[in-house]
């Protein structure tokens, strides 16, 4: 704590509190300081993290806070938060099925629960509950299997019948549906987190601990000598590093290729949508079980929703019309009360789809080069745990137990973590 203050003082970070808010208000808000510096890269660091998204910034935060490694740079090709952390539908949950995933995502959930205090930044972690509705007996049993797995891992899960679902979301179509709702799986601790604030909060905290956050500085190559990484070539010149950590989400294969690595990953686009702001409509996060539609309402009042991924390799960060129609159809089938609400914006992100739908946190064949990738469309909820485990891996060159299943060699061995049972077909996960 006291060390924290010193560092804070040294880097001039301000603690946020109602007090500081009022004091600044009366002094015309003239004394707020930048929440991160804009440093030029030093010649070398102990660790260079490539990618200033949620995971990269969280990794920097935990490296500094949990492992005392502060001689760290995060190089980001655009502005921090420009990637998926800033364009996702913000759902956090730990309602996973397989043992390889459950403990990891539950740890993430726990870190979310303490995040504001940890960061002294309000990321608006909102545990409003995540409800997945089902429409048939087999689907119910599959959710029961999942719910039971969660409970065995000490994760909260409730299986609701039709009437319990109705009580929770009375505006949903129960009477005129092609696929009537038969019940749902509810994780009350699940919810949403303000996406941008996650990037900013971790960045502010990392910066305050001495981490250099360098924007508009894409990694364009690696210096590797006899199997060991020596540093990163960037748009701002060479930056030496004892260790280099990749956390570039949708661009993992491109960046890894610079180090001569080939990955079990395809890049896919997925869209999201937001409607005009309206007074509260829906209080939980909800997922349709008979189509591609999931929705929550942002604190600003917009319904934020998404659907299926585009389905073809893409780096374009945008989508096409069929998915938009498919999503709207799903929305109208589930809750026709939203029909006259208007979509004000749609956008796309760039997903790292792996061959089994689960992520990779591992060492690479290149000594000193670490990989964090393959988060598919579910890595926002993973942000804190991913940073936590990746920091551990970087600090100790050994996997964190919670991420022990996320090794690269699992594909060759066949020890895949395939929640959906879709096989080696990334666009189906």
């Amino acid at each position: 704590m006291s060390i924290e203050r010193d560092v804070a003082a040294q880097y001039g970070v301000m603690r946020y509190s109602l007090g500081s808010l009022l004091v600044n208000a009366v002094t015309g808000n003239r004394h707020w300081k930048p929440i991160w510096r804009e440093p030029e890269p030093k010649p070398a660091y102990d660790v260079v993290i490539v990618g200033g998204g949620g995971h990269g910034l969280a990794t920097a935060h935990y490296l500094a806070k949990e492992h005392g490694i502060t001689n760290v740079a995060v190089v980001e090709k655009s502005y921090i938060g420009s990637g998926n952390v800033g364009r996702n539908t913000t759902i956090v949950r730990s309602n996973y099925l397989l043992p390889g995933n459950l403990p990891f995502y539950e740890h993430s959930m726990k870190l979310w629960e303490g995040l504001e205090q940890d960061l002294n930044y309000n990321a608006m972690v909102s545990q409003r509950g995540v409800l997945n509705v089902f429409h048939s007996d087999p689907q119910r049993d599959a959710y029961a299997r999942r719910g039971n797995a969660m409970r065995l891992h000490g994760v909260d899960a409730e299986l609701l019948d039709r009437e319990q679902v109705r009580a929770l979301v009375p505006f949903v179509d129960f009477d005129n549906a092609r696929f009537p709702i038969r019940g749902g799986l509810l994780q009350k601790r699940g919810g949403t987190v303000r996406h941008d604030a996650v990037a900013w909060g971790f960045a502010r905290s990392a910066d305050s601990r001495g981490v250099d956050i360098i924007q508009n500085c894409a990694a364009i190559g690696f210096r590797i000598e006899n199997g060991r990484v020596l540093g990163v070539e960037t748009e701002k010149g060479f930056i030496g590093a004892k260790k280099v950590a990749l956390s570039v989400a949708g661009n993992s294969t491109r960046v890894a290729a610079m180090a001569g690595l080939r990955l079990p990953i395809e890049s896919h686009a997925v869209q999201a949508f937001v409607t005009e702001g309206v007074k509260p409509v829906i209080d939980v996060v909800m997922t349709f079980g008979a189509g591609h539609f999931y929705v929550s309402q942002s604190d600003k009042g917009g319904l934020v929703f998404g659907g299926d991924i585009e389905g073809y390799n893409s780096y374009a960060q945008r989508g096409n019309l069929p998915v938009i129609e498919d999503v709207a159809e799903g929305g109208m089938a589930l809750m026709p009360v939203i029909g006259r609400l208007r979509i004000l914006r749609s956008w796309g992100g760039l997903l790292d789809m792996t061959m089994d739908g689960s992520p990779i946190i591992d060492l690479t064949p290149v000594e000193g080069l670490y990989l964090n990738a393959g988060w598919c469309y579910g890595g926002f909820k993973a942000t804190p745990a991913s940073g936590w485990c990746f920091a551990h891996l970087i600090a100790n060159s050994a996997p964190h137990p919670l991420a022990a299943a996320y090794r690269l060699d699992r594909f060759a061995r066949g020890a895949v973590i395939d929640e959906k049972g879709m096989g080696a077909q990334p666009n189906l996960h």
Partner: protein
């Protein structure tokens, strides 16, 4: 996106089903030494940003499997041909 099927002509995206990288070739499963080749074939991809040769199925049309050459940054399609030996029967 619209794909110009060599049989049906130009059709809307929703008529097609995507499979993925068309440059990988299936090894011989009877050859015990082919393990690395198999792992590569089933799991590993170049995933280029740029020209990509990929399999699409015209599932709502003629049911032909196609090899489409497409730029993954712009979605511009530069070539479409039949899969396999690319011939009509």
């Amino acid at each position: 996106m619209r794909i110009n099927c060599p049989y049906c002509g130009e059709r809307a995206l929703e008529e097609f089903t995507y499979r993925g990288d068309a440059t990988v070739t299936r090894p011989d499963s009877l050859d015990a030494a082919s393990e690395p080749a198999w792992v590569d074939y089933v799991y590993f991809r170049d995933n280029p940003a740029g020209r990509h040769r990929e399999h699409w199925h015209h599932s709502a049309g003629c049911h032909a499997w196609l090899v489409v050459t497409r730029d993954t940054r712009t979605h511009e399609i530069v070539a479409v041909e039949f899969a396999g030996k690319g011939k009509l029967p």
